[in-house]
């Protein structure tokens, strides 16, 4: 297929202009990150006396170790750990409850099944941003402020993954289920031995998407983690800016910004195929 692409256009000037256009696009995408990286390797005075340098300096280890070990309000290493726990909690929690409930909805008939389906389906429509105040109150009443469960549970309460697994289960041939029944498998044996192994690509794709979703959460952690030791890295960056007119510690802040994007970027790049599949699946 790819061999034939572009047959219509002749190679020549147009070909190089195409590359040029794409390279400009790539540079536009990279530039802010490059600047942040440069800023994370120079000293504060180099930044505050504009223009800052456009090539990396020699303060890489100093700035990153300062960020990781002491940070501004809390060590960034701790914030990264919090982010990791939150992201994994959201990812695993959502996948687990979605798998079981999609299995129940697709493979069983029970009273109220349709009602349950639509109730779950409704949650597709409402991002957490829309119900922040009452959700905050619920978390506060449960004493879950500044806790991992408070960070995780409200973000699990959405049906995107359930819907996705339902769609996938519906494409699993009926004959496989029948074969399993003839083989004497109970519903849960069918689930463990056949349905789960068959879903592993979907699970992995969803894992990538949900991990990024969880890691990049901002508003919710901003609301419920008042204790710096519970801050996640994405919301923690904003907390590093001093209030008032004080000068921000730019090298440390930029090092933190880079650290905040490293895990999800690694996930996207290293699992590109799964990531694309997950995106396409979850939007279908």
């Amino acid at each position: 297929m790819s061999e034939q692409r572009g047959m219509v256009e002749k190679r020549g000037l147009g070909h190089w202009l195409t590359h040029l256009g794409l390279i400009i696009g790539v540079l536009f995408i990279f530039f802010p990150i490059w600047l942040a990286f440069v800023a994370s390797t120079v000293t504060q005075p180099e930044i505050v006396r504009p223009p800052m340098p456009l090539l990396p300096g020699d303060q890489f280890f100093e700035n990153y170790s300062k960020a990781l070990l002491s940070g501004v309000n809390a060590p960034v290493a701790m914030m990264m750990l919090n982010s990791l726990i939150m992201a994994l909690g959201i990812t695993i929690g959502k996948i687990v409850i979605s798998l079981t409930s999609a299995f129940a909805i697709v493979y069983f008939r029970f009273p109220g099944r349709t009602v349950f389906f639509w109730l779950i389906f409704l949650t597709l429509m409402l991002p957490v941003e829309v119900r922040i105040v009452p959700t905050y109150e619920v978390i506060a009443n449960f004493g879950m402020l500044n806790s991992y469960s408070g960070l995780i549970f409200p973000l699990i309460a959405s049906a995107t993954a359930t819907f996705l697994f339902r769609q996938f289960f519906l494409t699993v041939p009926d004959e496989l289920t029948e074969a399993a029944r003839v083989d004497g498998a109970s519903p849960m044996q069918f689930f463990w031995h056949i349905l789960l192994p068959m879903s592993r690509t979907n699970i992995a794709a969803l894992f990538v998407i949900l991990f990024i979703y969880g890691w990049n959460q901002y508003l919710w952690p901003l609301l419920i983690t008042t204790d710096p030791s519970m801050n996640t890295i994405v919301m923690g960056i904003r907390q590093m800016f001093p209030s008032g007119d004080d000068l921000a510690d730019w090298p440390v802040i930029m090092a933190t910004s880079i650290l905040a994007m490293v895990p999800p970027v690694i996930v996207v790049i290293s699992m590109q195929k799964l990531f694309i599949r997950g995106l396409v699946d979850s939007e279908k």
């Binding site: 600047l35 223009p51 922040i132 309460a157 890691w215 960056i237 730019w250 996207v268 939007e283």
Partner: protein
């Protein structure tokens, strides 16, 4: 669509559903119900009691010039974000689609900003345009342009739009490229043999065939601009200057948490809820259509 083979019993499915039902009930339906309930009350001046006002909060909101301004701001903001991010992405996707080799490499180079959190994107752009240390702002100054998004409303809006669009380009690029690559080569070659030049081919063949993707992205990007850009706005402008970048979601937050006006914030939530509902319905209508395509 239904399964032919069905397992018997109701205990097991009930158990399997229980976790999702419990979590959804506590952290979704209860708060959503609360939002609707609270939207009909106002607290008394001492914050001790609340008083039922029915649709009063909504009436007040619709008459409130700040809220109406926020609506306009949201419309401008999401319109611009959608157009900018989709326009750049489409341009890059068309270029990448023309390549015989290497479109995969460009894809790898272009998609990963998707992984950058909007809030982090906000910090990056704020740093570039920072009035004190921002390198872009400084070079603009050299050119004689005095950049100050802290004071200038248009510049503030421009900055949050670019920062919000920046990470979104990846996502749109991916879908546009997939959409373009799904167009059968033979159709385009047939048009080329008919003598259609690139632009004519694009206008008469590629663009119509791409329209399902375009429409889908349109809806998805509007939803993104509505809700997921909170981080960008909070980090760059905090809604300012003079509320010039206060989009609806930001106002729910600032009225509810900063202003502590729960009734108004709840009423705003309900309005947003209706808006998302509409968008979702549009999206599903569209998906149905696409299935029948």
């Amino acid at each position: 669509m239904e399964k032919r083979v069905i397992f018997k019993g109701w205990m097991l499915p009930a158990l399997l559903l229980l976790p999702q039902i419990v979590i959804t009930a506590i952290f979704f339906f209860y708060p959503a119900g609360q939002a609707i309930w609270q939207s009909m009350f106002v607290p008394d001046p001492f914050g001790l009691k609340t008083q039922f006002v029915g649709l009063g909060n909504f009436e007040y909101l619709l008459g409130d010039p700040y809220y109406r301004a926020s609506f306009v701001t949201t419309a401008i903001f999401s319109g611009l974000v959608t157009v900018v991010s989709m326009g750049v992405a489409l341009y890059l996707a068309i270029l990448a689609d023309r390549l015989i080799k290497g479109s995969g490499t460009y894809r790898t180079l272009l998609i990963w900003p998707y992984a950058v959190a909007p809030a982090v994107a906000g910090v990056l752009w704020m740093f570039m345009f920072n009035t004190r240390v921002g390198v872009v702002a400084w070079y603009l100054g050299l050119l004689g342009y005095d950049w100050n998004h802290v004071l200038n409303e248009a510049e503030a809006m421009g900055l949050v739009v670019v920062a919000s669009s920046w990470g979104r380009i990846s996502y749109n690029f991916l879908f546009f490229l997939a959409g373009l690559q799904a167009i059968p080569r033979s159709v385009i070659e047939a048009a080329a043999i008919d003598g259609a030049k690139f632009w004519t081919r694009f206008r008469t063949i590629v663009w119509p065939l791409l329209s399902p993707t375009t429409f889908f992205l349109l809806v998805v990007n509007v939803v993104y601009a509505f809700f997921e850009t909170f981080g960008v706005i909070h980090t760059i402008t905090a809604g300012g200057p003079q509320q010039a970048t206060t989009i609806l979601v930001y106002k729910v937050y600032s009225d509810g948490f900063v202003g502590q006006d729960l009734g108004s914030s709840a009423a705003q939530s309900v309005i947003l809820l209706v808006l998302v509902g509409l968008l979702t319905v549009i999206q599903f209508k569209f998906i149905e259509r696409r299935v029948h395509y």
